[in-house]
């Protein structure tokens, strides 16, 4: 990032008072701390996460509505008048019923959806699900990608051939097509593996689906890095000293792969939020009455002409979150990836 301060210019980067050099992780964290754009992005993300976590508080004490319950006959006080949440049309032939628009007050701040539910409250609950799915799917993805990438790269030979071809097959599917296919089957029927059953409406399904489809995208770079590390001098030295392979794997290879994985975290989360929204928009992600930003956009699709805020609000939330994650991801990459030093600044 152009506005990032070089670690060499920071007092902490020079080392501790005792003269012991800092660990690479600490150096990277310090570098990230001085990356203004990344820190602003991180602050925005923290604010979004905290706000979404407070959804039940908002629904109970501020809006006073149940965001999962239809309120088609509800009325609220606006300017001393009781007005219906779903207002019948009074123009022309008097056709149609329109949900209340944004009041910018405590109740129905962003208006109501087609079921008379408070959009603001659903936006916060939806954010919880979107962030939860994106975060958990990222962990699932990184776990399997690391497992496959490290195993493949470290053991090589037949193991590498089999796992690499498996990744090739997975990669051959257009990612959304694969996600949609899996979702249609699993969301409709649920998933039973031995004694374990995941219900069709469970959030574990979108987490698993999104986590799995992106495995090749992370596993391949990890495998490449492991192969490169295997040929590095310090690993060859360890082999020469007769150190057991498992020790080399866990103490020489894995720590060096970790930085790559850290760089992937915000980027994968951003990607996962967009994917989750897309699946939920197609009704094959989060299932009603639960909400995610994608489902709220989908619900608002039928109100685009009269109440665009129902779709626009979660759209804005997605844009801000994904933008923040990408900016933070750039900062993390600059901080943790040594190659970033080679970039023009």
């Amino acid at each position: 990032m152009t506005d990032a301060t070089s670690p060499s210019e920071t007092p902490a980067a020079a080392g501790t008072a005792t003269g012991r050099p800092q660990s690479p992780f600490r150096r990277a964290m310090v570098k990230l701390w001085y990356d203004r754009a990344a820190m602003i992005a991180a602050s925005v993300l923290v604010a979004i996460v905290i706000t979404c976590l407070l959804a039940p508080v908002y629904a109970k004490y501020v809006s006073g509505t149940d965001p999962f319950r239809s309120s088609l006959s509800a009325k609220i006080m606006i300017d001393g008048k009781r007005v219906p949440v779903m207002a019948p049309s009074t123009e022309g032939l008097g056709l149609g019923v329109t949900p209340i628009g944004p009041t910018f007050g405590a109740k129905y701040m962003l208006g109501a959806d087609t079921q008379g539910r408070d959009v603001a409250a659903r936006l916060l609950y939806g954010g919880r699900n979107s962030l939860l799915i994106a975060g958990a799917a990222t962990l699932v993805c990184l776990f399997f990608a690391t497992l496959i990438g490290v195993t493949s790269g470290f053991f090589g030979g037949a193991t590498d051939v089999v796992l690499s071809r498996f990744l090739d097959v997975l990669w051959a599917f257009p990612v959304y097509l694969l996600a949609i296919s899996l979702s249609i089957i699993l969301i409709a029927q649920g998933l039973t593996i031995g004694p374990f059953t995941i219900e069709s409406g469970s959030l574990l399904l979108p987490i698993g689906i999104i986590g799995v489809i992106y495995v090749p995208y992370v596993a391949r770079p990890v495998r490449g890095q492991v192969i490169a590390l295997k040929r590095s001098e310090f690993v060859l030295a360890s082999i020469g000293l007769g150190i057991p392979r498992w020790r080399i794997l866990f103490f020489d290879i894995l720590p060096n792969v970790t930085t790559t994985l850290i760089v992937f975290v915000p980027l994968m989360m951003a990607l996962n939020i967009v994917t989750e929204s897309a699946l939920s928009f197609l009704s094959i992600g989060v299932q009603p009455p639960d909400a995610s930003w994608g489902t709220i956009i989908q619900e608002g699709q039928g109100l685009l002409y009269n109440r665009p805020m129902v779709s626009v609000a979660p759209g804005i939330a997605i844009v801000i979150t994904v933008l923040a994650l990408n900016i933070l991801g750039d900062g993390v990459r600059d901080a943790f990836d040594p190659r970033s030093k080679l970039r023009p600044r």
Binding site: F68, R69, S70, L72, S73, M86, P88, S89, E91, G92, L93, G94, L95, G96, V97, T98, T114, Q115, A188, S200, G201, S283, Q287, P288, P289, Q301, G302, L303, L304, Y305, N306, R307
Partner: protein
């Protein structure tokens, strides 16, 4: 001497004069109507009409398909022996001769009707229509297990055997052809006051004798109507073109259409359909306009909007053979809990829908306003009674069970499903909603193999008789486990009420008014058992393109596209 006529002679003379005047007026009116029609035809004939819908309506077979969407098309593609008049409003309830030369009088015992078949009529493949086709068509109703075989046509002699072994159906003594005389005699087991109505619906279409004895799916069967199906792909488009062998024989039964071609596109959302009509890219949308577009249509496009009463209701069939709705208390609870006013709002508001808690629609034979499932039981629904509903659920001990609502993948159906999900959750159930393409939802919810607990559906009259709602939707004969054509979606079979319906049907032959009284009681009795949740009586909103003229709305089959022009 002038002989003055006596009083009675004077009356006779006046009557004769009046009759002459009426006859000449009618003749002149008929002549002028024909001239008007000829002039309109000269001015507007030709062009391609474009219709759009969210989805197709399944099989194209007129004896199997039971949807208002395709029945609308069958009006101009197939003919029966009789037909409902192709005119505006409730005049459309009039039965007119179609492939038969005239509406026959029954035999003395009221059990036989002899139809003289018109000569010179050809199917769209060029084949001549004969009495053999008529006999084969009635046999085919049973061979393809038409959804109404057991309810509409089970009164024909020999129908019992056909229902038991459809493949061997002959109706030997039931439908008898006389090739030399060109007549077909239909013998009934007992007099049937609704028999003519049943002959005028698409399930009694006359098809070529060699039509496959199975549901043809997407391969159209030749018909005698003014149009024929040129192609049908349920995923994309259905195309109608003029039947090259059609010659108009009775304008009331099968008028020649104005347009040369009708392209019916599937897959457009209601939103996209409305926009296409506004932009002049489509002429008519089958699905109800989505709620968010109604205010715009009602204020900016008033001249292109047509609102008509429908003899119909939206309802939620409850599977009485599956938990939790196999418990009468749960079914009653849901009936108490539903806010029907709110549901009418989801359909477009009070202008377009009226809350109801009974099966027969207002204005229908046998309709007597009544509502038990409301806060103040009486003639009309007033408000939901959630306390009563929760009491019933608590008494049933079924709270916590999983319930899945199957809806159509349309805006209104999904919105109703979401609302019912909220209500069922409030009652303590763990509810989910599954929208299914409208193309298959109707057959899916009928098949007991799919274990549908509750669904959203609509019922439109086939003809103006109470039995068309009560007997069709809830008789034991309409329940065929494991079949896609089991229109008793609730799977409710009550032998006592079945017997009462049979009595009412028999009574209608001699005393229609008394029969209607009986139907009122049967309606109330069914609602006591609550095999379904009536939601609201809808009105039809047709939004048509600016170029579409000659809009005609039949109370039986809704908009008649053959009466409209686009040029």
């Amino acid at each position: 001497m002038t002989c003055l006529p006596t009083g009675s002679a004077l009356r006779r003379g006046l009557a004769a004069a009046a009759g002459l005047l009426l006859a000449s007026t009618a003749l002149m009116h008929g002549a002028s109507a024909a001239e008007d029609r000829a002039a309109l035809m000269a001015a507007h004939r030709g062009g391609t009409m474009r219709l759009v819908a969210n989805a197709a309506a399944g099989t194209i077979d007129p004896m199997v398909n039971y949807t208002s969407q395709f029945w609308q098309l069958y009006q101009s593609t197939y003919d029966g022996l009789l037909a409902f008049k192709h005119v505006n409003g409730t005049d459309a309830f009039t039965i007119v001769p179609d492939l038969a030369e005239e509406v026959p009088a029954p035999s003395a015992d009221g059990k036989s009707y002899t139809f003289k078949i018109r000569k010179g009529i050809k199917f769209s493949n060029g084949q001549d229509l004969t009495v053999k086709d008529v006999v084969a068509s009635f046999q085919r109703i049973f061979k393809v297990a038409s959804p109404t075989a057991g309810t509409f046509y089970n009164g024909i002699v020999g129908a019992d055997a056909c229902l038991k072994t459809p493949a061997d159906c002959t109706l030997k003594d039931g439908v008898v052809a006389d090739e030399a005389a060109g007549t077909v005699t239909i013998n009934l087991v007992a007099p049937d006051s609704e028999f003519f109505f049943k002959l005028a619906v698409p399930h009694a279409s006359i098809l070529p004798a060699d039509a496959p004895a199975k549901d043809v799916g997407t391969a159209p069967i030749p018909g005698t109507g003014s149009y024929m199906f040129a192609s049908y792909d349920p995923n994309t488009q259905l195309k109608l073109v003029r039947n090259p062998h059609f010659k108009e024989w009775n304008v009331d039964a099968q008028p020649e259409g104005y347009v040369d071609e009708v392209d019916y596109d599937f897959g457009l959302t209601e939103e996209a359909g409305i926009t296409a009509i506004q932009n002049g890219q489509a002429d008519w949308l089958f699905d109800p306009p989505p709620a968010d577009r109604l205010p715009e249509l009602g204020s900016k496009f008033q001249n292109q909007v047509h609102i008509n009463n429908l003899m119909a209701f939206w309802y939620a069939p409850l599977n009485t053979n599956l938990a939790p709705f196999n418990d009468e208390r749960v079914r009653q609870a849901l009936n108490y809990a539903v806010d029907r006013d709110a549901l009418a709002g989801l359909f477009g508001g009070s202008v377009l829908a009226d809350p109801t808690c009974q099966i027969l629609p207002p204005g229908f034979p046998g309709y007597k306003p009544s509502c038990v499932y409301t806060q103040d039981p009486g003639e009309a629904w007033s408000a939901p009674d959630m306390d009563k509903a929760k009491e019933l659920v608590a008494a049933s001990g079924t709270a916590g069970q999983k319930v899945t609502i199957i809806t159509e993948d349309t805006a209104v159906s999904k919105a109703i499903g979401t609302y019912l999900q909220s209500v069922l959750n409030d009652l303590g159930y763990d509810t989910s909603v599954k929208p299914i393409s409208a193309n298959i939802q109707f057959t899916y919810i009928q098949n007991t193999k799919n274990n549908v607990q509750i669904s959203i559906s609509q019922w439109f009259q086939d003809y103006p008789a109470a039995s068309d709602f009560l007997n069709i939707l809830l008789s034991c004969a309409s329940f065929t486990p494991g079949s896609d054509a089991s229109i008793n979606i609730s799977g409710y079979c009550n032998k006592d009420l079945d017997a009462k319906m049979k009595s009412a049907l028999a009574l209608a032959v001699t005393d229609q008014a008394a029969a209607n009284e009986e139907w009122s009681k049967i309606d109330a009795a069914f609602m006591e058992k609550a095999p379904l949740v009536p939601l609201f009586n809808p009105k039809r909103v047709d939004f048509v393109s600016g170029r579409l003229g000659g809009y005609t709305f039949s109370s039986v089959f809704q908009w008649l596209f053959a009466n409209a022009w686009v040029k």
